[in-house]
Symmetry: C2
Subunit: 323 residues, 2 copies
């Protein structure tokens, strides 16, 4: 199923989210407004707001707060991307110039801060402490994950267990926030909250594993960045972690030493080959599948209906996507 | 009165704040913990937490939430300083190496994000939506002020009215948050809230005007940075704005043109002289005094007691400080 097909039954929900989102983004500072409009124009997949409204539909009925929650979670996501591009020194985002590249690093830092605080102010409008708590927790886990990654990319000693911990914070935290926000803005059912929290967490982990896999599998033309970008940035991800674990220790040590020294584009191909030879891609696919299964299982407490079916389709979309 | 003398009657309050603050700062990520300890060690004046507890004492009695509020507002302040040093490319802060200089820009961006989100999580612990609202508003105004400043420093067309708007966001927002937090964590009196909100706002504006004045008046040895730093960074502040307004328009235009081109250290002295000659320092001192008076007036609804006296002493400290 394509993303477009996934969104179709929720188009009116997404329209309400979009209107709230664009309202929150408006600013009377010309510079801020220009950047905000740029960010609105080159929007991403909007998977996160979609998760909020889908979850709310599954639990009951979206409220005004559901759309606010969808907007603030997207704001938090965009804020973190604007800062990520400063941190990773990325010139492009979603195929277009990143904020730090189109404007400056300084402006990107401030704009990220501004979007984050706008997100929080938006959240207070729901008058729900629970919404604030979910959002603040996600914000903290996002940066905790990034800081952990930064530390580990220097030491290059990320274990497989630490990898899951890292992507849980870096990516799954926001997915969990989305599903939790969908629940708390439409119902107060504790069992629903636990089930959908687990769904979001496992979906998020599967999403990131798939992302890391794409970095090894994809062609530049599809994902908008060259394969092997993670390796070039000294980011150890599951395909390589597993391959280093199963290769003989002499080979692994030599490879780590080479990565530590700093890689060039020409080094990418042999490393991808090393991963293929050691079953790194296969192993990673299996792991992604196991998280997919956990996510699906988490929905078992819900009766079969169109909303549950949509969430299951999201899971399949996330793991079968080509970019 | 020195800061030490100001703090003395509130030492046990400050101790409770410090203990809460250090608790919140702790992290199990080694890199984060190291940086957090560095920030705790080279702490600043802690004027903001002091304002929170003083205000709470004036309104009633500090609660556990008062100390939490003091800690989260200091966290927000420190988070903003860590990012400011990235934005202003400052090598030092409070006389010591800034985070971006001791570590890297990347780490400083992430660490600022992390402290901000920690601040928000801390605030949710009070279970008071009002606390969240005050904090989020302050965070938004801080970054809005910085973005406005960045925009204006390029165009060099900051009017006196815009200057007050800018420093209200950039500095007074946090002072207002402090006094408001002191009120809402100790009482729910609406009249107290309005009075102390106005007190915080006017004190904050007076504080920033004094800061901007010090940049023209001070010697390197006292404030830890050379006089004229603002001019070098193309930041127009009140002494210069006023002088440009009263000088003949030909001179003013020529000076603005020179600043736009970029200044060198040797250009500072003549500009300071220009400001002195055009009464810029005197005018700025008068303006600071008028905000001082407004701050003091805001306290008139309170009976005379030791806590009111302490807050009045803070006003005098802020405007008579030499750094």
């Amino acid at each position: 199923m394509t993303l477009k097909e996934l969104i179709k039954p929720f188009q009116s929900d997404i329209d309400q989210f979009t209107s709230t989102y664009e309202d929150v983004m408006r600013s009377n500072i010309p510079l801020v407004d220009t950047i905000a409009k740029y960010l609105v124009k080159y929007k991403g997949k909007q998977l996160r707001p979609l998760l909020v409204v889908m979850t709310a539909r599954l639990c009951g009925k979206p409220t005004e707060h559901t759309y606010t929650a969808a907007a603030v979670v997207e704001l938090l996501h965009v804020a973190s991307l604007v800062h990520d591009d400063v941190i990773d020194n990325s010139e492009t985002r979603r195929g277009f110039a990143s904020i730090k590249s189109k404007w400056t690093n300084k402006i990107a830092v401030l704009m990220g801060d501004y979007l984050l605080s706008k997100s929080l102010i938006g959240a207070t409008k729901t008058d729900q402490l629970e919404v604030m708590r979910i959002l603040a927790t996600a914000a903290k886990r996002l940066t905790k994950g990034e800081l952990f990654q930064l530390e580990k990319s220097k030491k290059l000693d990320l274990t497989e267990t630490e990898y899951y911990e890292l992507i849980s914070d870096k990516t799954a935290a926001l997915f969990t926030a989305c599903t939790e926000l969908g629940v708390v803005t439409s119902t107060q059912d504790e069992a629903h909250l636990n089930a959908l929290s687990s769904f979001g967490e496992n979906l998020g982990i599967a999403f990131q594993i798939k992302d890391d896999l794409l970095d090894y599998e994809s062609k530049l033309s599809i994902i908008g960045k060259p394969a092997g970008s993670d390796i070039l940035e000294s980011k150890l991800t599951l395909p390589l972690i597993h391959s280093l674990n199963v290769a003989d220790s002499k080979t692994s040590k030599a490879l780590l030493k080479q990565i530590k020294k700093g890689l060039h584009k020409k080094d990418i191909k042999p490393i991808i080959q090393f991963v293929v030879d050691h079953g790194g891609l296969e192993y990673t696919r299996e792991k992604a599948e196991s998280y997919v299964q956990k996510a699906k299982d988490a929905l078992s407490i819900f009766p079969d209906n169109e909303y549950k079916a949509s969430l299951l389709n999201v899971v399949d979309y996330v793991t079968h996507r080509k970019k």
